[in-house]
Amino acid sequence: MNMIKVYIEKENKVVKLEASNAKEVLTKLNINPETVLLSLNNELILQETKLNNNDELKLLSVISGG
């Protein structure tokens, strides 16, 4: 398992967790994939993208509301 640093934009907080891909990150954080964009090194990635140890993943909220 790889240790991933995850920045959750909506809550402006960083969490560290073990995951092998972005889908696992969302499942562990109970975040609906419909509500976020996944950004790794400032590039958008899909849920199935494999993550490496010490990767920094950003979860950008897609909900604006006016």
């Binding site: 964009l37 958008l44 899909l46 897609v62 604006s64 509301g65």
Partner: protein, 314 residues
């Protein structure tokens, strides 16, 4: 798995058909689909003066970006931007910076109107003095100002950033609240009948999902950060949004199906409710309303009285 059209890394998987697209092919897909919506539903006529309602968020700046491209290419219509500053600290003040920057960089005239100047108080202050939910005050105020100021600015159409998710939520809200007549006014171009007291609203992002719009805005660098209105999840709409997102995650394509089904019955709804429409002019402000006094004038009166009572008891 690479992009459907090339060997590049995909940036998105489209939920309605499972296609994966890279940055270049997604941008091409997105712009083509929005331009097709504008063309197929005749959203813009020759010589239209289109006002674009901008909040500075990803949806409105995406609309403004694509309409600017189309205007530059065709030179058949003109555009200006209009923004409403509700007075939501930490949110609107930030997003308006992005709107101002985009308009300055692209030489687009931007007119900003605020609740404080028009109604005497910011939304934040109105909410402190009353028990109203934010959206029940903000919605009528914003619609009122956008229509009134669009007429004053001479706009023939008003483009908004409403996307497929917004519309699917509104359709479900109207069903749940037995408010079908309101649904008859929906669609890529709003209204059941033409009336000079209303500036018709057009929704170029009607068939684009929230996630697609966010992806486009990110790839184009249109917003500095993706901010969410602090009041958006408190509302009835917020609950419907959560429900639809849960369904979409479990059954991909749900939101598209809602819109596709709705588009099939929309012509019948419009026809059915044509005879029911009665539009009065508000006795107080002259703006269109279905009642004698419009909702905005009623709300302003209530909020001003509450403010007076608060002062009297303090």
């Amino acid at each position: 798995m690479p992009c459907k059209n090339c060997l590049e890394k995909p940036v998105i998987q489209l939920t309605n058909n499972n296609i994966k697209l890279c940055k270049q092919h997604f941008i091409r897909y997105f712009e083509r689909k929005v331009l097709n919506t504008i063309h197929n539903y005749k959203l813009i006529d020759k010589n239209d003066k289109v006002g674009v309602a901008v909040s500075g968020g990803k949806d409105s700046l995406t609309v403004l970006n694509i309409l600017t491209m189309l205007r530059n290419k065709t030179r058949k219509f003109s555009i200006e931007a209009i923004a409403i500053d509700e007075g939501i600290k930490g949110y609107r003040d930030k997003t308006l910076q992005d709107a101002k920057k985009f308009c300055k960089d692209n030489k687009i005239k931007l007119s900003i109107f605020s609740y404080k100047e028009e109604f005497g108080s910011t939304l934040d202050n109105f909410l402190k003095k009353s028990k109203f939910k934010a959206c029940s005050v903000c919605g009528p105020f914003r619609r009122y100002l956008l229509n009134k100021k669009s007429k004053e600015l001479g706009f023939t159409k008003l483009a908004t950033g409403h996307n497929l998710d917004d519309e699917a939520q509104t359709i479900m809200m109207n069903y749940f609240r037995r408010n079908i007549e309101t649904s008859a006014r929906l669609g890529p171009i709003t209204g059941i009948i033409k009336d000079k007291r209303f500036v018709r609203r057009i929704k170029p992002l009607y068939f684009m999902t929230q996630k697609e719009v966010a992806t486009y805005a990110f790839l184009k660098g249109l917003t500095s950060e993706f901010l969410e209105c602090p009041h958006s999840t408190d509302s009835y709409r917020g609950e419907i949004m959560k429900m639809l997102n849960d369904f979409e995650a479990k059954y991909p394509g749900t939101k598209h199906s809602i819109i596709t089904s709705f588009m099939e019955i929309l012509p019948m709804l419009k026809e059915n409710f044509k005879g029911y429409i009665q539009i009065n002019s508000c006795k107080n402000c002259g703006e269109p309303t279905s009642q004698e006094i419009c909702q905005t004038c009623k709300l302003v009166e209530i909020l001003k009285n509450k403010a007076k009572n608060v002062q009297a008891h303090s």
